[in-house]
Amino acid sequence: MNKAYFEVLRAGVNTTIQDKGRDHLYHIGIAASGAIDKRNYILCNKLVGNNLDEAVIEFAYQGPLLKLKNGRINVSITGDIIFNIIRKDSNVENGICYKNYILEDEDEIDLISTKNTAYGYLSISGGFELEKTWNSYSINTKANVGPNNGKKYSLKDKIFIKEPNLQTVKEKKIDYKEIPDNIIRVIKGTNFDYFSKEAQNSFFSQDFSVTKLVDRMGIRLSGNELENTVSTNIKSEGLVRGAIQVPADGNPIIMLSDHGTIGGYPKIGVVISADLDRVGQLTPGSVINFKEVSLEEAQNIFKSYADDTNRYLDECN
């Protein structure tokens, strides 16, 4: 029997495989990687009945056009995505996110674009046939780590499927509501006092715009150049997802999943865990404001964010 796979008929902007990411490698300089929007990644797996840590396809802005070969699969899309399912007989169905679909042999799924966000996710029941590198399926295109030789997918690539012959499939959906919010909550960073009083105030009161320099490593902002009165360099030290570094030009950079593990610019703040999914979805031109919260508040906000995620998961059962 021939193996089932997706044939890539259009690659999209940045189509990769992601999962929860890889741990315990920062000390040799390997980023955690993993889905940028962890909640949408988890929900995507849930909608097709997978373990929540199964590998999915992550795409950015314009997604891929994929043709199913030699199989019958159960698929779901999460995010804020415009997509079509093109049946073998050329019949086109407008896709709806947060529900599952059956794809028959030779059907296509056209992930046309994200709306006001950067990333979307595609999961299939049983997952993809891939090998783990350092205990994760995540592709890190900067270090060329992970499946597909650590590269994003290109035209004519094949993405192989583990369980291609589903018989009965349960219908699942989630009534997902994301309320747009441009406030990003931050805990003061370890170098907060490197910045002038004026810069400290403007960091928490003025608008920042997302520039075009946005990828899975990080987001460069512009708006108020933040004046540093101590030193624009620190001795390089470890970074975390969400850390906000400010280089000498005064424009903040927020670290995302593929971030460098070490950095030498002062850290003015760190985005709280509960807001990281939302930060990762920011697109060029978005305007955001930072709001200070304490560690204790951040922990409470995270707990209620995780509770919300769990409610969505329960709804899907």
Partner: protein, 228 residues
């Protein structure tokens, strides 16, 4: 020893060993790193996702769904750290081509340091460097210390794409960009040597903390014909 413990956001403990950079402080960081790594392997502590040692800091990242800042901080404060340092360090020689097409920032360095290119290279090559840490990108070594006359700040605006193999300097340190990546160091050359091998899952980095490194200059022809 740890002088201060802080939180870095809501998912990391920031252990501060001081502000100076020297081999003694770095050795102390590395001892903590090895000690905690063993405890993680033996499942004596749960929820830690990463340890990031650097010159004089150790950052302990954790999973907020499993643990929290207070628990990890208490754990670190309760550690009984021995003094045994693993010593299996090696000496590594790195070829570097410093022609102007690879040494991207010589004009900046000449202007800032007020010495000519040949002198910069002479001072750079005449030294055995110590590897304090690896990171930022996979396998990138942070080496020191540079001769005092060739120390210079980072670029005002980091480059979006630093070519793979770029050999950089900033302050008292030298490094090698093991992959194309953004970066802010002053680039003085490029090495054709493979510094990180992701096919070697156990020991992917050619240079590891504690190793000694020597750079030697090669011609453009040798660079282009480099074969491993």
């Amino acid at each position: 020893m740890i002088k201060n413990i802080l939180n870095l956001g809501d998912t990391a403990v920031y252990c501060d060993f001081g502000v100076e950079v020297n081999e003694t402080i770095n050795a102390s960081v590395i001892v903590y790193f090895h000690h905690i790594s063993e405890l993680i392997k033996d499942k004596k502590i749960e929820g830690i996702t990463n340890l990031t040692p650097s010159y004089n800091k150790l950052i302990i990242s954790f999973d907020l769904t499993i643990t929290n800042y207070k628990k990890i901080k208490n754990f670190v404060e309760g550690l009984n750290i021995g003094k045994n340092i693993k010593n299996n360090n090696q000496k590594v020689k790195i070829p570097v081509c410093c022609d102007d097409e690879y040494g991207l920032d010589f004009s900046r360095l000449v202007e800032k340091l007020n010495i000519d290119k040949n002198k910069i290279l002479e001072l750079y090559l005449d030294k055995e460097y110590f590897c304090y840490m690896t990171g930022f990108i996979a396998g990138m070594p942070f080496l020191g210390d540079l001769n005092e006359n060739i120390r210079c700040d980072r670029l005002e605006t980091p480059r979006v794409k630093m070519p793979k193999g770029s050999v950089g300097i900033t302050e008292q340190f030298a490094n090698i960009y093991t992959f194309e990546s953004p970066g802010g160091w002053n680039i003085i050359g490029n090495t054709p040597k493979k510094i990180f091998d992701d096919k070697n899952l156990d020991q992917p980095a050619l240079i590891n903390p504690g190793d000694k490194v020597i750079f030697y200059q090669i011609t453009k022809e040798e660079y282009l014909n480099w074969n491993e």
